[in-house]
Symmetry: C2
């Protein structure tokens, strides 16, 4: 099937993918008097007296804003807010399908950090949480940091943290398969954007000790050209000696490669130089850093990609619906790294006997989002 044509047809036929409906009866004059005037004045008065009641008397308690500035949509780059809308609608229906949450796209006509932060703060009263989406690095880091500080509802940039939770879940199972411990492994991450940064920080939180991180200019190192605040911070931690080099250099003896970067960066020869029973997460999409068959040729033991047509798909939909479900049900003010690690362990636990070809649960496992949500609440 040609998904491009099928998708275009479908979007045209339905006018996108979202519908906003009444969840209450609205057939008679009496229904109107309860749902709208005069009855509606009463919940208004109750909330006016105690703002917290908006959580149980309105949509706030189950509604998430999906906020983008259209600056880094899928692999399409800076295509703007209108063109990002089909992805945000897609995200919204995933929230509903997998966690029963109501999510609404907010596509912003600005790519200025201050303006994004300001705007999200102003529209926040009607939402229970904010899912930031497809905002380019490094702006996404500051936007998220400031919103987490300044808002009293949970805020998560899914490109950083959703991906990271699913990668960690898969890695935990892959490590069981190869018989290694997270504390001992040496990891290489290719890509220092939103995804790479989110993964790096979460793996540290989960116990990883040794990391090399690369961007398009090679290994990140303090003071190297092409750095930013966020890369500098991380480089100071993982590479204080200021080692530089290429991906080839970094992979020598590494246990794990995680790519969130460019198609075709890794060769079979490079995999051969990694430690025995190497683990490869080649997440560039749709074309991975190395195709699974070539990685296998090079001796990789467990291979994951972002694609649904190979085993071990790293799919954000495993994480974000359940994480927000837990955060909203628990009325959590923040989604912490500890909660995300707990979510990853919960996801990993849904695969009782992981093998090289099954380190990930299927997103269609019934109750999956509830398992994640419970883990998040328990970690709170």
């Amino acid at each position: 099937m040609n998904y491009d044509i099928a998708s275009l047809d479908m979007h045209k036929r339905y006018g996108g993918k979202l519908e906003i409906k009444s969840s209450v009866p609205l057939e008679t004059k009496e229904d109107l008097s309860i749902a709208y005037t005069p009855g509606v004045a009463e919940p208004c008065r109750v909330i006016a007296a105690d703002k917290e009641r908006a959580w149980d008397l309105t949509m706030k308690g189950h509604t998430v804003a999906i906020v983008t500035d259209g600056s880094a949509v899928l692999g399409l780059g800076n295509i703007g807010p209108e063109a990002g809308l089909p992805v945000m609608e897609g995200k919204a229906i995933l929230f509903k399908r997998f966690a029963g949450l109501d999510a609404f796209p907010i596509c912003l006509n600005t790519q200025d950090v201050d303006e994004i932060v300001e705007t999200v703060k102003r529209i926040a009263p009607g939402f229970g949480g904010i899912n930031l989406e497809d905002i380019a690095a490094p702006a996404c880091f500051e936007v998220e940091r400031r919103l987490i500080e300044e808002l009293d509802i949970p805020v998560m940039h899914d490109d950083q943290h959703g991906t990271a939770v699913v990668v960690l879940a898969g890695l935990l199972n892959a490590l069981k398969v190869v018989g290694k411990n997270i504390e001992d492994i040496s990891v290489v991450i290719s890509g220092a954007g939103a995804g790479g940064m989110g993964i790096a920080h979460l793996l540290f939180e989960a116990g990883m000790q040794k990391l090399a991180m690369l961007d398009s200019k090679g290994i990140i190192a303090p003071g190297r050209e092409g750095m930013n605040t966020y890369k500098e911070e991380l480089a100071a931690r993982i590479n204080p000696e200021g080692r530089t080099g290429t991906l080839e250099d970094a992979l020598l003896g590494a246990d794990v490669f995680i790519g969130v970067s460019q198609p075709g960066l890794v060769t079979a020869q490079m995999v051969q130089t990694m430690a025995p029973r190497a683990i490869i997460f080649a997440l560039s999409n749709p074309i991975p850093e190395i195709m699974p068959d070539i990685a296998k040729e090079g001796g990789a033991f467990v291979i994951a990609t972002g694609r649904s047509d190979f085993p071990n798909q790293v799919n954000n939909v495993l994480a974000f619906p359940g994480i927000f479900k837990g955060a909203l049900e628990g009325r959590l003010r923040k989604i912490t790294p500890a909660m995300r690690v707990a979510a990853a362990h919960a996801l990993a636990g849904l695969v009782p006997d992981p093998t090289a070809e099954t380190i990930m649960p299927s997103p269609f496992v019934p109750g999956l989002a509830d398992v994640v949500a419970e883990a998040v609440k328990k970690a709170a």
Copy 2:
């Protein structure tokens, strides 16, 4: 039935009134590949090449933002964005029920005109129209004027214009009942807020010549105390001679009284001083400026209120769903006064033989919003 208790119960049971759903199938992996990645990249690319395509490929073409700052919610006053949410949710389900449009509440955490305008402009890309709601006068006038100027999608403050359209529709039929022409009548409007201003301007557009307008300090007149820019503008037009006085003074010999002000301002004695076959729209809600039986005692011939338990309910739901439906279907950049007059005539025409007790169509008349939408598009 106690609507307060029933409404509070219902809001609690359902968690408000809104649900956001997929309008497309989402059961299989293949569905996911069409609605989300990889297929979704194609509509993104098409819109990136031509922003206009967002109208037919996304929700934009059928989605309206209901924007409030919570400064003038129902008769409850400045109760803030959270407490305004139940009303905005109610409005959203009316959009769906009566026009098939998808509408979403945006409750703003600011009451500053510049910030409201700025915020709405930033979130506009995902919406086909903006319904401003329950924003206090005079801020509402500037917010609306600037957004109409600066956005390329239709913007309407329903408290001004939705009310005005329904009042004009009812007035047109009431004039048929009493056998008077709109060009000849003298009208008194009590209340110079959003509703009063909207009604005054629309009645002029429809042919009315003689108007006296009052606020809480009496007849508005150039240079009088307690005026604002908008009152000054109107006063210069309707009262250049600077006549001042009370409601009692104004009503002497008037053909029509329209109240959007305070309960109980008008007495039977005052109605007696009006012209024969007087028309009364007493729209203060839930307690009108004069109760229908008392107005009748005073000799009023046609009486309308905002209440559903008396004949001739002036109900915004007759207007805004169809107006926005027409504006979105016609891809109209603005909703003009001429379109609103056309909408009012269309509504009035839905009552083939108006009587003193039936000047308004029922909102449940099938196809009512379509009739209004067609009138709006035809006037474009």
